[in-house]
Symmetry: C2
Subunit: 226 residues, 2 copies
Amino acid sequence: MKIGILGTGMVGRIHATRLAELGHTVMLGTQDIEKTRANIKKDAMGNPPFAEWHKDHQDITLATFRDVAKDADIVFDALKGEVAVSVLSMLKSELASKILVDIANPLDFSQGMPPFLSVCNTDSLGEQIQKALPDTKVVKTFNTLNAYLQVNPAQLAKADHDLFICGNDADAKAKVAEIAKSYGWKNIIDLGDITTARGTEMLLPIWLRLWGALKTPLFNFKIVKE
Amino acid sequence: MKIGILGTGMVGRIHATRLAELGHTVMLGTQDIEKTRANIKKDAMGNPPFAEWHKDHQDITLATFRDVAKDADIVFDALKGEVAVSVLSMLKSELASKILVDIANPLDFSQGMPPFLSVCNTDSLGEQIQKALPDTKVVKTFNTLNAYLQVNPAQLAKADHDLFICGNDADAKAKVAEIAKSYGWKNIIDLGDITTARGTEMLLPIWLRLWGALKTPLFNFKIVKE
């Protein structure tokens, strides 16, 4: 498949790398190609600038948000939560009728650590995106765990932990679940329509505290049931 | 120990029953003893009125909120989230220096199902209670799963799932963890101070959706880590 990923940060790069390994044609989308290539600064987490990373990932194409949204069969939202709705709204026509895999979380770091959610409880980023792009099939998933685990769940407990999936379109969820299975996911819980994205985004506060308590981001939730 | 439980609903009754089984002297607290005894209606979930339940639990004493708070060594908050802060604020002097085990969740059913949280993200019910009762050692726990599982975790996967505990006082958390262990808990994760209660209360939205998706409330979160 031709898969587009909006956002050139670590989450986007990690999915791009994995999807390319799995044989897909992968495009990474950015606002301004030249600016992304010219950046020489590490990000806030100490990850290398795009150009340095890209040297080892020449099979992945860098393109504009618009070209990625236009050309890809399926598009991932790996944007920062704070800009996701505004960037995606500009791509409304390109994304119409397509599946958008929304990995973003509405984290607000403006008041320091730990971040707050900029939307929650009675609304969610997933719902805001679905509302802004009514003709797009928004599927919220992958947003409840570390990006390395998102694309390679078997590195933890033989993948015996859970991925949540939310969205209004059953076929779209099934297609995204196939991608997740190709990553190695065995346990995928369909929570229901896109309003259930509230629940997954609201996992972030405990996720962040668990990172502190466990001293590692390499953990995940497993739902134990009868 | 002499343990007091504020709230005569199912959560309070379930803890009271279990604590009495474990040999504690248990008091259940209510606003108005006569009204609680005289009530003949089932609750919204179809549970029997207090008097009917109490016939089989004569070892548990019914008393006023104030008498329970005054006499007990340790007090459980099993009140409805919407009244918890106002009821507890009236018991400030009785609860001073005591441990308060806060099981309540700030659920708002005023707009139907699923309920919203009346406080979240930048604050929590646990923090509001700690702020209202600065001399009380508030320990938030048990609020992230079904009440029957709270008091008997071994009925699910030999108790191989997790209980979260939050609070500012390490000794108080250790004492409450001892009670949890006497219930059968093996995995107890200390998330940190009372601000981490935000994370556990914000689990409620996904908990409610999982109940819908799994068709049973008898499940719990397990944190899978390296």
